[in-house]
Amino acid sequence: MLTAEGISKSYKSGRRKILDSLEISIDEGEFIAVMGESGSGKSTLLAVLAGILDPDLGQVLFEGKDLYKLSDEELSDIHKRRIGYVPQSNFFLKNYTILENIVEPFLADPSKEREEYEQKAKLHLEKLGIGDLADRFPHELSGGELKRAAIARALLTEPVLLIADEPTTGLDSGTGRIILEYLSEYVVSGHAVLVATHDDHVKEYAGRVFDIRKSQTGL
């Protein structure tokens, strides 16, 4: 499904290479935990694999296409339907309800899909244990609730690959378990999940652990 080869990345602000000649592949039905200490480049790797951060070197092939050689239109279509991404921070539009935050970004104008998307969003929220919060505003939700809403948003179009950056960090173990169980269920239905974490509990759910330090030839 996705193969990354020779990925290197450093930021302009620092001379240190975050990623150096890294290789990884992801297949359908896989739940992979990318692990490593803070600052090891887990989030950077996920961003590169999600197609939202251009690597300095290397290529990311998703379903046979190099993500960074696609047109804006093609890449946007992949982000809308094929790759879901959950950022580390919970970002929601403050004057939209949780349901609107999940559904509106995916709707064209005019849209025939509104009802279908709203039902799907409610189902995800229900399964993640926050079904009763759909009509609340973001400031009324806790960090854990917002994280679950962000996952529901990323899963709305049922992407074949879900990439989640630290989905359980800072959450109580109960909430973390709800999220991890839901992601495990998602993998069973034939999708793939890639999670960056330093939470050891994730290992219990992941089929494969990708140690970012050991996987880089140059570091």
Binding site: E73, K80, L93, P105, F106, D109
Partner: protein
């Protein structure tokens, strides 16, 4: 755009209420300024053009020592009486090189019960006239009789009549607006002169000996034919009627006013340009702050599959909505400020001021709305494109 999308656009604007309010206020000020400056300068130029056409004679002869009064009467609306002996006109007519000539006689009405209002009365000869006739806005079929008058555009009468020195006169027609004192004058045929002078004396007007004689006139308008110069005509007039007159050159009067208008317009343009640059700078700052604050929102929408061009369209539609509201509000506010005070502005500048009609105001509003939206678009488009081009992860990471 669907209703839902419009609602979402408004919600997106509300989310950054303070900065968008600043943007709106700047657009309103910009629109008020553009509308006011445009309307005032167009009205002054129109007033000048109209005055030049209206003072359509090459030379105006007035009694010796009365030139300033005559000029003030034409430009500032001060009411005046000054007279030649009536026989002067016949002598002037005989001068070689005159293509057209006509005479007028002035009289002031009283500020008393006998008169509807205090106006300048102008007696003109419809047979020889070439100064008043071209500016009559509504035609009158019959000959202007002694009990009918033509009034300037500022004279308002509900029943179509005007009372002067205790006598009522029917308003036969109204003059087109000039933006000068001519707008508040009442025009009689010379046939009515002796009766009106008699009524004036009965109602308490102090008449000079000349006025009592009745055979008087105040000014002679002359157009010079192509084979002579104005100076030659004036020389001939001196030889024919003696040194009893001063000359007003309407075109020179216009030229001197044009010079003043040029200076005023120059100052207004410099001030407007400075203010305009300042406002555009403010727009640039506000737009840059707004887009900086929306980096992560834009990044998230890109992660969720929004195309750059769709995001640019979305952001421009928000900016467009604010600009439209601000430009319309600002133009109407400008109209509320400038139109009622237009005449005061013209008077305070000592300039003929011909305010715009409704169609012209609407056209100006339309043009200004278009221009302001374009300015706001141009001041925001760089920041919008820059923000949509930032790699989504970098924008989201800065938020963390």
């Amino acid at each position: 755009m669907s209703l839902k999308r419009t609602k979402n656009t408004i919600k997106d604007i509300q989310r950054h209420a303070f900065l968008n309010a600043c943007l709106l206020a700047t657009v309103v000020i910009l629109s008020v300024m553009l509308f006011s400056v445009t309307v005032i300068s167009v009205s002054l130029k129109k007033g000048m053009g109209n005055m030049r056409n209206r003072l359509g004679a090459d030379i105006m002869l007035v009694p010796k020592g009365e030139r300033e009064k005559a000029e003030n009467m034409l430009l500032e609306g001060s009411r005046s009486n000054f007279y030649f002996d009536g026989a002067v006109y016949e002598k002037v007519q005989s001068i070689d090189g005159i293509s057209d000539s006509t005479s007028q006689c002035f009289l002031k009405s009283l500020s008393a019960d006998c008169c509807s209002s205090e106006v300048q009365i102008v007696f003109f000869d419809p047979e020889t006239d070439f100064v008043v006739g071209p500016w009559i806005e509504t035609e009158y079929k019959q000959k202007l009789s002694g009990d009918a008058v033509i009034v300037g555009s500022d004279i308002v009468s509900e029943d179509g009549r005007i009372k002067l020195f205790g006598q009522e006169y029917a308003i036969a027609s109204q003059m087109a607006r000039t933006g000068t004192a001519l707008d508040s004058s009442v025009y009689f045929s010379t046939d009515a002169k002796s009766e009106l002078l008699k009524n004036a004396e009965e109602k308490g007007s102090f008449l000079t000996e000349e006025q009592k004689k009745g055979d008087i006139l105040s000014s002679i308008f002359i157009n010079v034919d192509g084979s002579h110069t104005a100076e030659q005509i004036i020389d001939s007039a001196h030889k024919t009627i003696g040194d009893i007159f001063d000359v007003v050159y309407p075109k020179k009067l216009h030229e001197s006013l044009s010079g003043s208008l040029g200076k005023i317009t120059g100052v207004v343009n410099v001030i407007s340009l400075s203010l305009g640059i300042l406002l555009v700078a403010i727009l640039l700052i506000i737009n840059s702050i707004i887009m900086k604050g929306r980096k992560s929102e834009i990044a998230l929408l890109r992660v969720l599959g929004h195309r750059k061009k769709d995001l640019i369209r979305k952001l421009l539609s928000e900016i467009g909505l604010i600009s439209l509201a601000g430009a319309l509000g600002g133009s109407f506010l400008g109209a509320l400020i400038v139109i009622p005070f237009g005449r005061y502005i013209g008077k305070s500048l000592d300039m003929p001021y011909l305010g715009p009609g409704i169609a012209s105001v609407l056209l100006q509003i339309l043009l200004i709305v278009g221009l302001v939206i374009l300015i706001v678009f141009l001041s925001s488009v760089f920041f919008i494109i820059h923000t949509t081009n930032i790699e989504p992860y970098l924008a989201l990471r800065k938020e963390e």
